[in-house]
Amino acid sequence: MESILYGVQGFMYPNEVELQWSILIVLYPFITGLVAGAFILASLERVFNVEAVRPTYRLALLTALSFMLVAPLPLQLHLGHPERSLEMYLTPHTTSAMAMFGFVYLWYLMAVLVLEIWLDYRKDIVLAARSTTGWTQKLYRAMALWSDNISERSLEIDDKVGRFITIIGIPSAFLLHGYVGFIFGSIKANPWWSTPLMPIVFLFSAIVSGIVLVMLMYMMVSWIRRTEIDMDCLDTIARYFMYAFIIDFSLEMLDLIHRIYEADESFKSLDFMVHTKLYTSQVILQIVLGTVVPILILGLVQLVKMSPAARKGLYVLSGVLAMIGIFAMRWNVVIGGQLFSKSLLGYTTYKMQFATREGLLPSILLLLLPFVILYVLVRLLPPWPAKPEADKA
């Protein structure tokens, strides 16, 4: 019993000492957040006719798909019996947010993402099917569902249907990540999680993370391909990044201020936790470095005239900090919510391991996997018109 109690301060119910949800469950909302955010950025162009961000449209969709495909993997690794996961679809418990989320995920993946990508790329797929041979041709033909029709009229229809799907896609993206927030926010047993603001806070930080991801991807891909960055596009993305972040920050501060003001029975315990165990990840990484500093940088760029090079540098800096901050936010919610006892009388420690099923190593690999998938997707479905001079990308 000694070993299990190591790292416990005060009193924890005996069954609470070991954390239930590990870094894998921190990863999961982070990944689905990136998906929702990337999609919403893509839909800005499609639905709200923000022409400036057009260059990133296809890249944003492919990025969303890559991360969407990886999203269930941390969950599978975490489950005690992953071979039983089909049960969530066969006998979903309709009162369980987790069960219903399985359908939201499936809906979003198939009816929104895959359909939208297919409709936008269909012409390119059919053209590729016509111009390749062998297995590659078989693949493209299958992707075209063995249809060869890319007449003007059919493409017009695709565009209309695609627009309709994007319109449904926006509330679907909200639902996708809002649901994840609700999974936490609806647990009355946990005062750190239980708040109606949780789905909205999750959603807005997801939007920020997705926008940043597409922005950074666009900059990196342009650098690799040695193509010029459309500064109009980049500046517009950065502006949306800032707006979304300001809303997100306000919501998080609202939650914090509300807790401090009302100071209910959980306050003392949670306050102590934030000042000790969660100080680095919450105050320093999430709030200061991860939110306030990037917002100030972005604000500065709006107020002071700067060269494109300077702006690019600041966008990268604020983007990286924001990503760290948003990851830290997921950490603080998931891990933080389990560090204190439900008796409000004690604290435990998260003992993260490295090379175990729920350790740090699989988490790092899972974060890298979407980029591998994205590479494959980009080769298969290039997001940009082919350049005459062939390059590494």
């Binding site: 005996p14 039983r84 049960e87 009162t95 987790m98 047993a189 009388l345």
Partner: protein, 252 residues
């Protein structure tokens, strides 16, 4: 919208609704087998328990009995006992300990006459009638039985741990040997045979007593009427059926 598209959507919609209805009907066909229990009728019982703080001596018999009866893994507890040490004025932050859940009793660490209040509180699954753990289970692996016990279907549990998070009382855990959830089952295998739970059986002072709220002759009715009883965390409205007598306000 053109008529073609409208027609397509109409027929697709109809198809989905009809197949949905068909699958629900099919489910009903598959389910529904008559109850096979010999003498025990679930509808005759509604299980609860009374725990009398004024009688608990912290001997730990209940913890040991439960471990022996229910194959509880080491380091985890279906039931445990907490010791409260409440110096005057610190009702909102009592000192609590539960060394190995009370399995080996409680070595003395306080002195008499220091002006504090000290007592034991046995804890277990509250067998909630509006159980938050059942609400969040994604697949139906944990459930409220018709006779009022909250049980776990170990062959169906995914080990997602959502129910562990949702329980306000900390009574659930993952069995590391099977990677599924486990918790106090109110000794369902005993109470359906007319025996009492292992913990109540072995409590030497009668601090823990199983009760059947549907049995008019059960002493629990008189107990609830004549004692000032409370449930743990009443503000959570879980419908807990563990009724504590003499529960101090400092108890968490």
């Amino acid at each position: 919208m053109t008529t073609d598209r409208r027609d397509f959507l109409k027929s697709a919609g109809a198809f989905i609704v009809l197949t949905g209805a068909a699958s629900l009907a099919w489910e009903k066909v598959l389910a529904g087998e008559p109850e096979k229990a010999p003498n025990y009728k679930m509808s005759d019982h509604w299980w609860a328990m009374t725990i009398d703080i004024e009688k608990c001596i912290g001997c730990g018999n209940c913890v040991r009995a439960d471990k022996a009866e229910n194959d509880v893994p080491e380091d985890f507890f279906r039931t445990w006992v907490e010791r409260y040490h409440v110096p005057e004025g610190s009702e909102d932050h009592p000192e609590v300990d539960s060394p190995e859940g009370g399995f080996n009793g409680f070595p003395e660490k306080y002195r008499a006459g220091d002006g504090s209040k000290n007592f034991f509180v046995p804890k277990l699954c509250n067998q909630c009638s509006h159980s938050p753990c059942t609400q969040v289970c994604p697949v139906g692996a944990t459930f409220e039985s018709p006779d009022g016990a909250v049980l776990v279907d170990k062959s169906y549990c995914l080990g997602c741990r959502y129910c562990v998070q949702a329980c306000p009382y900390g009574c659930r855990y993952i069995d590391p040997r099977k990677n599924v959830v486990d918790k106090c089952t109110l000794c369902y295998h005993r109470i359906t045979k007319g025996l009492t739970t292992a913990c109540c059986e072995n409590c030497p002072t009668g601090a823990r007593t199983l009760g059947d709220l549907k049995d008019p002759k059960d002493p629990i009715h008189a107990f609830l009427r004549t004692h000032k009883v409370q449930v743990l965390k009443p503000q959570m409205a879980t419908g807990s059926k563990m009724y504590y007598n003499g529960l101090d306000g400092s108890v968490r």
